[in-house]
Amino acid sequence: MMKNQHDFFQGSITVQVEGPLIEPFLQACTKRGCQITDMKRIGDAVVILTIRLKDWKVLRELRKKYRCKLSIKGGKGVPFIVRHLMRRVSVLLAFVAAIVVIFLLANTLWSIKVDGLSPELKADVEGKLNSYGVSPGKLTIGMKDPNEIQQQLLDDIPDLLWIGVKKQGTSYHLYGVEKIRHDTDKNTRPSNLVASKKGMIIETFIKKGRPMVAVYDVVDKGQILATGQLVEEEDTFVHSDGEVIAETWYRVEQDLPMKQVLMLTDGTVESEYSLKVGKLTIPLWGFWKGKEGNFREETHSSNWSIFGMKIPFHIKTVDHYSIDQKSYESSKEELEDMGLSAARSGLLQELDEEAEIKEEKVLHLSEENGKVKLILLYKVYENIAVTKYISQGD
């Protein structure tokens, strides 16, 4: 029993011995202290036997002398079990590592979304979050509680009225409400209100300052509309503030061609692909196509990079869109409509948001040399008051 246990702990291997001098070989082995068990002859010159693992060295030393061929058929005992377990341990380790990686990835903050705030405030919030250690790519383990972040943000950013911090999976979703500040404009520098352009006053609303003009006055550019000098020839100046709505005029001239040629793509695309290596371009596919008729060419080049480094291989795509030319002839009336709407939208873009187009008048409409000449006049009501500071420096 002890012997068996010994073999079990030390390990034993089953060896196949092949050769003409098996018996002398075995005799020599036992002389050197080997313990041979479970020996069985399976062929004329082939024997299978089991030895202790530590005796393997002796067998190997002696096999040359007796010209025996040894081959291991299997092993038993603790060393083999351990080895087997080790193999499994590596699998187990890989499994554990995979779980750890998944756990880490699942607990990483991947994105922060901020809604409902102006871009400046959003940047501010993001900066603050970053300083708390809340930024994409960080582990959420050990990160502050969303409620805590919420409180901290509210404390740190005075412009925030309220902010909601919600954790959704691996992303933070923030929804903020900005404080709208009234009475922040505490500008007390003495100033006048002057006209920014020529116009006829329609309405004045001077909050501060002394009005200098009346309704239906025509003012020129730069004329003072309201002054900050409250009493004439006295040195009490205030910051004047207010709105002066005036009627202003805009003249728009347009030359519109009667005949127009439009280039229309009809949807057929022929693509040509080529590989770019450095400066060399190797055509890959489709280089025979799309060369007939009218076409518009669009070239795209892939911009591949590996680990932030640009690689010198690019795929260049040239798309040939075939083009249909179509000429349109428009009547004078159609062109007038077109000109009117174009002029109106152009003017609206130029004007303030609050400005209002009151009237639109065609002053001139004539046709010459295949073109329609259109002169339009617009009456616009807009605020023409601008602040101009009074220099008191003397």
Binding site: I22, E23, L26, Q27, K31, R41
Partner: protein, 97 residues
């Protein structure tokens, strides 16, 4: 000389009632029924197959015949055979030592 030594050994063995295998360098062969053979004090395994095992001892050979013979264990001077045992024959060297 050796014959004289042999006589002395035999006499001492008898006189002191010592086991003869120790005194005379002879193999001690124990069989358990016909399934096990336990051979001690041999000097070498000469031939081994599943029908015949020949063992060298000081003064000759032992031939064990049987069926499905196998060596259960083999140490320097011990041998444990198992299988279906048929006979154990002694083939002493012709000179006798």
């Amino acid at each position: 000389m050796s014959k004289w030594q042999q006589h002395i050994r035999t006499w001492i063995g008898r006189y002191f009632d010592l086991p003869s295998d120790v005194m005379l360098d002879l193999p001690r062969i124990t069989t358990i029924g016909s399934i096990h053979v336990y051979i001690e004090n041999h000097t070498g395994l000469l031939h081994f197959s599943d029908q015949e095992v020949r063992i060298q001892y000081k003064k000759g050979q032992v031939r064990i015949l049987g069926k499905d013979l196998g060596v259960k264990m083999m140490l320097k001077e011990e041998l444990l055979l198992e299988g279906e045992l048929k006979s154990v024959e002694f083939l002493p060297d012709s000179q006798g030592g």
